[in-house]
């Protein structure tokens, strides 16, 4: 295989709209929290949360072959509770290459990430180096201060939420490149984008590009769900270039190491894979430890059985061995590993419903109760923990999911896939699920795993990734507004102001997707003057309701409406006379 031609332009700079990367300065010089500042034509600015990393900062040249700067290194080193060590030697099978492959067992060195040399780091003497451990000790880490500034909240709120297990701050000590973010119901609802090649299609460069592209549009975390060849190498490229936390399902890689034979999986193979990924810097891992042997038969009468890949692998393993899975029996040992790197658990819902007919059934909730037990065990080991949720759930059954999860898992952050509210629309499952995602986000879900239009049909390409992220940012933001998150509605208000005042350029630049907004407008009215004209193609110049309405505002604005109904009527009479005196001109001249 040739050197992967990772594009030098990651695509992050390919948009044309006007915003400026700004930073809020924290208590130490190296603590600078990025934000996106939209400069309006009326001289004001609007500052938005920004997940895109250094790629959108012209002052920070980036090179995907070198990776992003390890921002957090000084913070981690200064805590003095970690040590570098030689680490595990990479092996051919890490990339899915057989010992007996025609390449003679040699690693596919061409694709090796060429960036800075690094040795893995872990907690000294097995101690917990997790944000949860620090928070419980009352310590506000730079990571906590970072997310507090990012969310406009008191750092103490961040610390308290993490300490209580109500929020997680995924930040592996071996992923110093990230800009810290937080997942918890008191914070902005977050969005995860899944990427990953499979045995059938896709390549390393495509996946790296999807990662930068997804974060460009607002993905707060990215899961690398690669299967097939080059898993290790793909992940290395992604991690070294990712400004957001990276999640994985280690089971997928472990299965590759045993040639896809689930029954040959073992704790040893799995443990080795987890350590490999901890050392690389994976920030959170989905672990399907809640699939118990006795739950498997509960799925037999389902319409769609087990649809989680991890869940079905573990179910097959349980059947083959007729015993509880190694994930469950070795769970405490797993906690010991994760706490040494500060890898966050994402307790997988292996038995989530795959059709609305199967929603909220016995299998699903039996597993949820086990996830509740595992949450408590993980917390005892000071490992940060969130819990995954469905899946396919009709609207009237959604609330029960978040309510039960919060009760059973003692308010651990909920992280749901959708849910899809109907099964009838393959090709549009970003929408069937975006509906459910907005609702469950409003009701307390902390992170939403996106669904792309290709769900159930194929692997998402670049456009699908963008559509999935944008759809889920809509769901997350609608939830933030409905939850009354401080400041969330300011964005809506700024855009609505621009719309009402015919500031088209501001409307585009404030849009979640400025490129599409501008392109759609220009499709009908491409001429430059139309962007400042007081009408648009929906109504034409004579018919514009916004314009009529603006003239009403001008008549009854702040000097009339606030003075009680009588005063208003008097004002109206006077203003109506004025109106008539002007010749009843309802429509301001276009030049206005």
């Amino acid at each position: 295989m040739a050197m992967p031609s990772v594009p030098s332009d990651s695509g992050a700079n390919a948009t044309t709209h006007v915003f400026r990367k700004t930073y809020r300065q924290g208590s130490r010089p190296d603590l600078r929290v990025p934000a996106r500042e939209v400069q309006l034509t009326n001289g004001r600015t609007v500052t938005l949360y920004d997940t895109s990393g250094p790629y959108t900062d012209p002052a920070q040249p980036t090179d995907v072959r070198r990776g992003l700067p390890p921002l957090r290194d000084p913070w981690i080193v200064q805590r003095g509770d970690t040590e570098e060590y030689p680490g595990r030697e990479p092996r051919p099978e890490d990339d899915g290459l057989r010992h007996t492959s025609p390449r003679g067992g040699l690693r596919n060195l061409d694709a090796v990430f060429p960036g800075r040399p690094r040795r893995p780091r872990r907690g000294r003497d097995g101690r917990a180096v997790t944000q949860l451990a620090y928070a419980r000790r009352g310590e506000i880490t730079p990571e906590m201060e970072f997310v507090a500034l990012r969310e406009n909240l008191d750092p103490e709120v961040v610390r308290a939420e993490i300490a209580a297990g109500r929020a997680v701050l995924p930040a592996n000590v071996n992923h110093p490149e990230i800009e810290p973010m937080i997942i918890g119901k008191r914070f902005l609802v977050k969005v995860n984008a899944n990427i990953g090649n499979s045995a059938v299609t896709s390549s390393i460069e495509e996946e790296v590009d999807k990662m930068t592209w997804a974060t460009r549009w607002g993905a707060d975390t990215v899961m690398d769900l690669s299967t097939g060849r080059n898993i290790h190498t793909t992940r290395e490229w992604i991690l070294r270039n990712s400004p957001v936390p990276i999640g994985t399902v280690p089971l997928y890689q472990a299965l590759e190491k045993v040639d896809g034979k689930a029954e040959e999986l073992s704790w040893d193979v799995y443990r080795d894979t987890v350590i490999e990924q901890c050392e690389q810097g994976v920030d959170y891992m989905t672990v399907h430890a809640g699939v118990l042997l006795r739950y498997v038969p509960l799925t037999a009468r389902r319409k769609t059985g087990i649809v989680s890949r991890g869940g079905s692998i573990m179910a097959a393993w349980c059947l083959a061995h007729h015993q509880e899975s190694f994930l469950y029996t070795h769970f405490e040992e797993l906690c010991e590993i994760l706490r040494a790197y500060d890898v966050t658990f994402s307790l997988g819902d292996g038995l989530r419903p795959g059709s609305i007919a199967d929603a909220n059934d016995e299998a699903q909730f039996a597993e949820l109760r086990t996830l509740g037990e595992l949450t408590q065990i993980a917390r005892r080991h000071e490992v940060q923990t969130m819990v995954e949720g469905p899946g396919h759930v009709p609207m009237h059954l959604i609330k029960e999911n978040i309510d039960l999860q919060q009760e059973i898992c003692d308010e651990a952050p909920f992280y749901t896939l959708g849910p899809l509210t109907t099964d009838i629309a393959p090709g549009y499952d970003h929408i069937t699920s975006g509906i459910g995602a907005a609702m469950i986000g409003w009701w307390g879900t902390a992170m939403l795993c996106y669904v792309t239009p290709k769900e159930h049909l194929g692997l998402p390409n670049r456009d699908d990734v963008k559509t999935g992220v944008i759809t889920y940012k809509i769901a997350a933001h609608a939830a933030d507004v409905a939850k009354g998150h401080p400041g969330a509605q300011q964005w809506d208000d700024a855009l609505s102001d621009a719309r009402f005042e015919f500031r088209w350029e501001d409307q585009f630049n404030l849009a979640l997707d400025p490129d599409t907004a501008r392109a759609f407008h220009d499709e009908t009215l491409p001429a430059e003057p139309a962007k400042t004209a007081h009408f648009c193609s929906m109504c034409g110049p004579k018919f514009c309701s916004m314009k009529i309405s603006r003239s009403i505002t001008e008549q009854f604005g702040d000097d009339g409406a606030g003075d009680g109904e009588d005063a208003i009527r008097e004002g109206m009479l006077a203003k109506s006379a004025e109106f008539a005196a002007q010749g009843n001109r309802l429509y301001l001249p276009l030049a206005d």
Copy 2:
């Protein structure tokens, strides 16, 4: 202007998937209710609600120059309560042509609809010929029987819901071409698609094509919101070719007749326009009679003032004349007109919020109370009535909208635009609003007015119309499932069965949009065998959770799971041994 080149293939037959048009026979030979039958590869069939009209029936050749057959004519004539009459003579200004235009005031005869000659019909001696009047008399009309068969409900339920004013069956006696449908909370949630040219862009043929295209994808009604030139002629083409009820906002055309000068509008001009449209066959009309003079100042402090076109026109009129609008003062006279044709009121929400900041405010709910009063007046005149709703509403304020409307308007059907749950995503407002639409549909809204991706930016093209309709069909169906509408979930179940059993062709054909589902699948795995293979590109052949899950179902199927936990475990042991004896093969051969 040349003869409009209305496409001979309306686009309705342009799709490739396999379904058969079927008809359910009613109590009389000419009462045949269309449905769409999907033939599955396992020999079963699934029957779906179908709005596409004769265009998708190969046995019924259609010609847009002749129009659809007037199916309901015998039903209307046999009731014996209507009469034909000469009708109003069309005038140049009906099509927005000035008397002093360079064309010398001649009508644009080239574009005149060439189909069968017809004379308008109306109730004899001013009597009410409305479905409401018949329902109150205890009569089950062929129209009611038609919708009962269409929705799998007892005709008496249909009659009772109409009689109580909880449902409307829009069916102008001058639009005999329609296949009757019903709008009410006990029935399937309906979707309206807006089309219409404007002064800036679009043409007659495009609008007719959008109508057939929208109904092809599931639009239950279509509103023609044309402004500018050729309004009358465009509407004639649409009506004569539409299998679904057509709605309008007569105010738009009336305004054209007074050269866009709102203050020159009068009851006479408006009344003349309403009669013109009643005679043509418009089935329901949006009337913004709830915009009272004293409400206008309530909008002055809003973020986005008045965003309804009709609302802003009436507000401007009220200001110019300093009196209540002619829509309000002549409302009873309007009722007398509409009852003679069975045109349904859609009481417009002229003061709906145009930004989430303005949701549920005093102006909005003041108007709603007036709409409640007008609903009672309309009912006294035996005019069918529904009520329009917002708009832009954050999720936590949506439920109050439907609850208040149902209370204030005595359960008259609610017909909402979205609502949009956030303002930040121009270019994606089908999604921001699809979220709100699904929720408000679940809570009792009877019809959802679609929003396309072009909302706020430009006029929808053919692709936008399709995206808008599909998005809203998803919202409506998700609502039907959540409401527990009888039979709604069968569609989901059939598709999920096909998915679980790897019947790819069935999955495509059952999809809301078979073309897109198939295209997305083929993008990754185009080869024909892949459509029957037991895997797809998401996981590849080794990793498929559905396949693993299916082998679990085969082991613990109906002979195991039903017999209590002990029996299950015994069965498991036996089955596990069997599993091992087969060599622990988790993955069935691909040929399987």
